[in-house]
Every structure is written in C-alpha cells, then in structure tokens.
Subunit: 379 residues, 3 copies
C-alpha cells in the first residue's frame, strides 16, 4: 500500500510539502529505509545518518538542520508522529473471509465480516463478533464468545465458555480456558478438583504467544480492560488481573491472586497464590511476591520487599566478605586490648590495695581474666 | 444436564430431603450460584451469604444454623462433598466420534469409542486406547501409543514412539517427545547429538498447557504414575520424574535428573542436570537446585539450601545494613580504647620501670603502638 | 533400517571385525540395548555391564579388557564414535511429499522435494527451499521464506516476512515473527506501537519447543548462524543473538539486547532490554542480567555480577547469622573493656593530677568514660 505525502502531512498537522504527488510505501529506521519509506530522527546529531538514509522523507524536530537528501518534515515529536503514521502500514491480517477448510459448527454464530483461517475450528454454540479474525488452526471451543474486531492469531486454543471482549488480541500458541491446577490428596493419589468456572477477558486486552490463562475452579478468571500480556505468561485459575496492567514475558500469577489497576510486573516474576498486588505497584524482574503489595509500591527480590530495602541489602552484601575480615581484625584488637588491660590492672592492683577478686565472665567465648596470668578458653 | 436432589443425597450418604423431585443443574459458589445450582458453606459465619444466595441447595456443616432460603444439606465436610458432586457436572469433552476432517493413517489403530477432533492427525503405527479423546488439531506421531481413557486436548503434539498410560491428560499446546537439547562442539560448530530415545508417561499423569517433555538421547524420559504437572513446565531428556510428584507452573528439570516419589516442586523452580531430588522433598518457589536434595528435605533459594538456613540468612541479610553501622561504631570504640590504654600504659611505664619495648602488630590495618605517642596508619 | 558391521568399522576408521556379515539395527545404552544394537563403554570398570549387555557390538577404549559376549570395537573415543554411528539411525521425519490436506497457496513457491504435513498451511508469497520439511499443522505466513533442508516440526507458527536460513530446525509449538511487546501510554490506555519489522534466522540454527521469537518494531530481530535454543525461550523484538550461542530452557532476552558469539546462557536466565552480552560470556542459571557483560566474563546472580564475587558473597552470607552473634559478643567485650579502662583511668587520675569532670557521651550505645582528659570527635 502507499499513502500520499500530502495525506501524511495532514495527519501530522503540518503544512503539505512539495512535491505533493510523492507517495510513501512504508516506514523504517534511517539505516533500513528504502527509497519509498518514511523515517524519523529525534536529535540534531543524527544529521549525518539522515543525509545518508535512503528514506524519501524523514520526521525531524523543529530545530533540526537543513540538509540535502530526504524531505524533512518538522514536528514537535518525531517518534510519536512516526508511529502514528506507521499504523497506516500495519499489514491487515491475511485470510479474509472464511477459508473453505475451516470447520464452523452449524450451531456457531459468526458476525458480519468475520474471517476464519484454514483448518480453524469453531465449535457449537461459539459466537464471534463482527470483523473478528481467527487465524489458521485456531480452535474456538463450545459456547466461547469473542467480541468485535478481535484478532486471534494462528494456532491459538480457546476453550469452552471463555469470554473475550472487543478488540482483544491473542497471539499464536496461547491457550485460554484450560483447566486450573487443583488437586486434593485422597490418601493414595492426587484427585483432580473439577474446574467448572470460565475465563473472562475484557476489551482491549492483548495476550502474547504461548501464554496460558486457566479457567476458574468456580466463577471466573478475569483479565480486565486494556491489560497487555507478553509471551509465555502463566495466569492461574481464579486470578483477577486489573485494568491496564503490564505483564512482561515469562511472569506467572498463581491461583486466586489479584493484581490492581495499572500495575507493572516485569519479566520472570512469580506471584504466589492468594496474594493481592495494589494498584500501580511495580514489581522488578525475577521477583517472587509472597505477600500483599501495597498500592504504588515498588518491590524487588525473592521474597519481594521494597526496592530500596532490597538494593540496600544487596549493597551491604557486596561488602560482606570484606566485613568478615574487619570482624576478625576487631577480634584480634579486642584480644590485644584485653591482654594489655589485664596487665595494667595487675600492676595497678600490686600498687594499690587490697587486690580485688578476679572477675570471671562468660559469653560465646569464655574469657577468664585473673591475676597473675591471662587465660582464654575457646569453644 | 441435571441431577435429582435425591440422587445427590444418596451420593452424599445423607437422608433424602423434600422436595424429592427437585433437580440440580450445576454447582457454583454462593455468590455466583443460579437458581438451579448447588453450593456450599464451610462455616457458620457464612449464614448471611447462604441466605442471600440464589442456590437451590447448599451443603453446610452439621452445626450450621437453620435458615430460610436454600435447602440445607448437612454433611461433615461440605467442601469435599461439594467437589464430589461437582464431578457429575464436568463437561464431557466435545467432538465425540471421529471428525470427518481428522486424518487417521490406515496403519494407526484406534480402540473402541475413541474420539478424534477436527484436523487432528494420527500417524502410521500410532495406537489409541479405548475411550481416549484427541482434540482438534492434535498431532499423534508414528508409533506413539496412548492408553485407555486419555484426554489429549486441542493442539497438543505427541511425537513418534512416545508412550502414554491410561487416563493420561495432556492440555493444549504441550509437546511430548521432541528432541532433547544435546550438542557437542566440534571445533567449528555445535554438532547435534542424535536424540534416539523416547518418552514414557505412566498412567494417571496430567500435564498442563504449553509444557515440553523431551525424548531421551538413549533410553527413556520417564514420568511416573499419578504425577501432576502445571503449565509451561520443561522436562528435559532422560529425566525420571517419580510417582505423585507435583510440578508447579514454569518450573524446569534439566537433563538426566531424577525426582523422587511425592516431591513437590513449586513455581519457576530450576533443577540442574544430573541431580537427584529425594522422595517427598519440597522445593520452594524460584529455587535453583544445583545438587542432590535428601528425601523429605525442604529447600529454598538459589542455590537451594535447607529452608530454615535460607530464611535465617535472609533475616540476617535484612539486618546487614544496620550491622555495618555497628561495625563502624565498634571500630571507633576500639580506636578510642586503644588510645586511652596506650596513654595509661605510658603513665604506668613512667612510674614503673623498666619501659618495655613498643609492640608492633600488623593486620588489614597497620597499628603501631609505641610510647610516647599513638600512631595509626590506614590504607 | 540396518547397517553392516563392516560399514560401521569403515566409518570408525578401524579394521573390519569378523563376522563381517553381521548387521546392526540400532544403538542404545548397555542396559537398554537389544540383540541387534550397538552400544558403548568409556571405562574399563564398565566391563561387567558390557558382559551383561544384550548388544551385539560395543565400542570400547583401546585398553578395555577382553571379554566373552558382545563384539568389542576398540576406538580412541567410544562416545564420539558411538554418536557418529548413531546419526545413521536417526529417523527421517515422516510425511514425505505434500499431504493432500495441506493448504498451499498458489502464490507460494516450494522447492524440490519439499514435504508438507497434514493440515499445514503455506500462505501467499511464502517460499520453501529444497528438501525442507513442514510438519502437520504448521502455519507459514505470507512472504515468509525458508532455506533448504529445514525441518519445521508439527504445529509451529511462522508469521509473515520471517526469513529462516538453510538447515534451520524449529520444534513444535514455537512461534516465529509474532508482534513485539511495545506500547506507549497515551494518558488513558496503553497504545500499541506498530511492529513492522521482521525476524531473520540464519543457517544451522535450532529452536526448541514452545519458544517465541518476536518480530522487530522496525528492522530485524536476528538470530545468527549455528545458534542453538532450548525449549520455552523468549526472544524479544529487535534482539540480536550472535553465532553459536547456547540458550538453555526458559531463558529470556528482552528487547534490543545483543548476545555475542559463542555466549552460553543457562536456564531461566533473564536479560534486560538494551543490554549487551560479550562474546563467549557465560551466564549462570536463573541470573538476571541488568547491564552489559564483558566478553568472556562469567556471571551469576540477580543482578548478575562476576561469578567469583557472587559465590564469595553467598559464602559470606551463609556465615552471617553466626557473625551477628560475634558482633554482639564483641559489643559486650568492648563494653567490659571500657568499664575496666575507665576504672583504671580513675585510679591513675587520683594518683596523678587533678581529676577532671567525667565526660558523658551518647551514641547507639551509651558509653561513659571518665578520665582527666579525653575528647572524641565524631563524623
């Protein structure tokens, strides 16, 4: 596809720049741009790269130097402007229409302009909202419902009764609505606890590749509006993930835990079961959250504690080997002082009178100080 | 489906309660139950919630107060009774029979009442036991064998020669019997070590979504009877996972390691290769197991050590920043004592006679003590 | 298949051994070998196991004792020789030819002798090099290209524009070329940053099961020649993984990070975004890499630091609880010394010259020192 440069200028809110008949065929970095591409630079020190770029037009900040080469479009925020234009060039997913090999149960309901890819399966009672797209090999189970304008990528599995809101995106390999992990030991075996609930995903949620969102034992596993989930993330049964949460790759939330609105959970974080993470909390990478996190808190470590505390402890830990040497040095110094002090006391005792009785103390090390000799017993 | 209340009473071992013609259509929590549902309460302080529930019947403990509203069924353990009844309402997986789009190789053998979903593939020489169910898009490779009453969910991949016992459940996206990760550096490249063994999974094992169980280099990767595995778990080649083990989500077992009967391995645990975890051992979340764990041990941390040791160290670590201040304070005190002691020694020396030779010591800090003045040199 | 023993001897570079007509049908360990199998032993103390093995021939080192039983083939490195022979017995993947249920877009190009499994989908503009094999249920997106002799296992998803080199292996469930994880907060919601780049994977790369390799925002996510990736690994957008890198299971590399040639990254490691790992660096299991790692460095821990430092700190940490006791003991000793010294000073003061007023100081611990003079200055 191509877009007229004049239309791009309009969208950026700047005056059209000659030649108005120029068309843009794509967007890319300065280095990778081809001759029909739009690119961007954020700082004046990128002038050489801009001059060397094959791009036909480059978004630059207002104070960027004049250059021969690409057409310069001056905007207040080149990056923001660039990605706004870039959205025009996002490939619309392939496979429009219902592929002849797709298997749509007669009891399923498809909205207007729904696309279903090759070998995708839509089971009985499933409902798909208008303009939603199911990629090749997708499985949509019985009674599962999708909102409008959803994108379910190739080889996603969505099990029975799951509910996904409008504009939901699920990337390839993810599984929604599988059984939660629940057993009771019956004396001889782990007996499976029936997993009878469902998954409810609200609108504008995006779920990465190869994620797992388990159905609730009873009730719902819930992911709320606008939350974005990276790849390989585990969402256990009966969890409740708030709105606009960010869950980075390979993190996992155990059963029945809650994550508040706007929380940010970094990569490879584990959150234990029945824990509550407050609104806006931030959890550092690889942390292990074992108890409730207050709203707005920033935590790190396993077990996760306030970030400042963990960093202070890590800094102290780095000094610990040297500290051990200092402790040993102090012990030698104390020993030396004790010996010298005992000698002084003895001399003072001889001079003064009467001689006080020897003092015997005990501790982790038993120290016996007594005239006329010094004795030390060690464990 | 519906179940007569009288049958539910019989199954619970209690006397039928009027009206005997009542039928139950499902199970749910007190809050979520609809008018045809059965629910449960475990404590008397849930009386208000029971009264407000739409459930038509509620399992309660024997001493629960009488209430208007739902029919109360008094049993010794409402939770256990509830989940026993809940099993009656578990959806039988859809897709009974062989879907016309399933691709069954003529050399494959299917037992009685086997179900195969849409676009599933059963390769040559594969054998499937009676009543087993393969979901849509499942791939069952050549010579792979499934026992009876297995449930292989949609989009599972089971490679050649894998053997799965009776009543095995594998959830969507998991891959059984892929190549193990083995290479030798040949001086210029990592050369692949052929992975010629297989996977053997015994009866009553359940494997979550998007797990990986690799085939052995030679011999077998083995998962023994009754073991339950959560989502996104990695089982490397030649491992041997004992009976009734619990492996929580995102944990991983490296090559040739063994896990004993009844061990419990929490989420995001890593177990190194060639390690042995004893029977009944418990490994805390995110631990990194680098050496053998004795039977019954409880370990935590990276590297994993006895839980009590790790907790003691973490508690000590939390006090380390304050400790650093105490050490500095002690150093000042020792310095002060040393100076004062030297002064006393000098006065005593002047008084007594003869003056002893100054003592010179060295350590991390060089301390020179000498009459008539005290000097200290620091690094 | 079978291989004549005489051919095996030729391949091992040793003289043929009678009976030359013997054929070998497989390879296995000493314990698991059947009567037509070849096995190997590396040490003389395995003589009893060799004698008891059902193998018909066993590779042994030159100094291995003579034994009745299996034919002994003496070679300098039995293990290397064994796996070289083992390669002869690797199953050639099934499904040769284009399965009738495969869906090949007329605009796709397949090279000579390409095999495509059941229900696999090859989209418009995709190109597959000669002799490459696509398993059942594979999805190859529009304009994606595969080199020659690739093996794409069942249920792999490769999205549009991805480029894979010759002899690339991708195991089941992996997803190549999905959107990277990029959003900007627009004041009310996380707005998706278009992911317009691609994935480029060079030749001889192997990628395990259920991995994710995300497309670049702009430009390329790149995995270079000869790199081997285990299962469940996350490769984020715009990363650049060097040649011959080893990435062990469940590790993850965040956006725009670079990994140098020959680096080894152990299991469950996390590498932050925009970080550079030097050539040949080694990163210990479960480490969290938050800043650049120099070439050849060996690091461990979260955050990752030089291995020796981390081990020293861990060793010191293990001694910390005992250290706390020593500190308390020292405090008692210092207190005792202080008291005794003050007493001596007082006696000396009485004897010597006019007694000055006692000075009282306070700190974390209150210390009372009395003496004619003495002043302490604190920081």
């Amino acid at each position: 596809m191509t877009v007229d440069l004049s239309e791009i200028c309009t969208r950026l809110g700047i005056n059209p720049i000659a030649p108005p008949q120029l068309t843009i065929g794509g967007v890319n970095t300065l280095e990778l741009a081809r001759e029909t591409d739009l690119s961007f630079a954020e700082r004046s020190d990128q002038a050489i790269a801009v001059g060397a770029s094959h791009a036909s037009a480059v978004l630059v900040p207002p104070d960027f130097p004049e250059l021969p080469g690409p057409i310069l479009l001056r905007v207040s925020s080149p990056r923001t402007g660039f990605f706004a234009i870039a959205e025009l060039f996002v490939s619309t997913p392939e496979g429009c229409g219902i592929h002849p090999s797709a298997l749509i149960d007669p009891q399923a309901e498809l909205g207007k302009d729904v696309a279903v890819g090759a070998c995708a399966v839509v089971a009985s009672g499933a409902r798909v909202g208008a303009r939603s797209i199911l990629g090749a090999g997708v499985y949509l189970g019985p009674e599962a419902t999708l909102g409008t304008d959803c994108l379910i990528e190739a080889n996603v599995t969505i099990h029975r009764d799951s509910m996904l809101g409008d504009r939901t995106i699920v990337h390839s390999g993810s599984v929604i609505g599988s059984d939660g992990f629940g057993y009771v030991w019956d004396g001889g075996a782990h007996r499976k606890v029936p997993q009878l609930g469902r998954v409810r995903i609200e609108s504008d949620v995006e779920i990465g590749c190869n994620c797992c969102v388990d159905r609730a034992t009873l009730g719902e596993t819930r992911i709320r509006r606008g939350t974005k989930i990276d790849n390989l993330v585990q969402i256990a049964h009966n969890t409740d993930i708030g709105e606009h949460v960010i869950l980075v790759a390979q993190s996992g939330i155990a059963g029945s835990s809650r994550v508040g609105t706007g929380a940010v959970i970094a990569g490879q974080v584990a959150i234990s079961d029945h824990v509550s993470v407050g609104n806006g909390a931030r959890i550092g990478g690889q942390s292990g959250v074992t108890k409730d996190i207050p709203a707005g808190a920033e935590v790190f470590g396993t077990p996760a504690r306030p970030l400042a505390d963990t960093l202070r402890e890590l800094a102290a830990l780095a000094r610990l080997p040297a500290l051990l040497k200092r402790i040993r040095q102090q012990e030698r110094q104390i020993e030396d002082l004790t010996r010298r002090l005992a000698a002084l006391e003895q001399r003072a005792g001889r001079r003064d009178s009467p001689q006080s009785a020897p003092v015997i103390r005990s501790g982790d090390w038993v120290t016996v100080t007594a005239a006329p000799r010094y004795l030390r017993k060690r464990r």
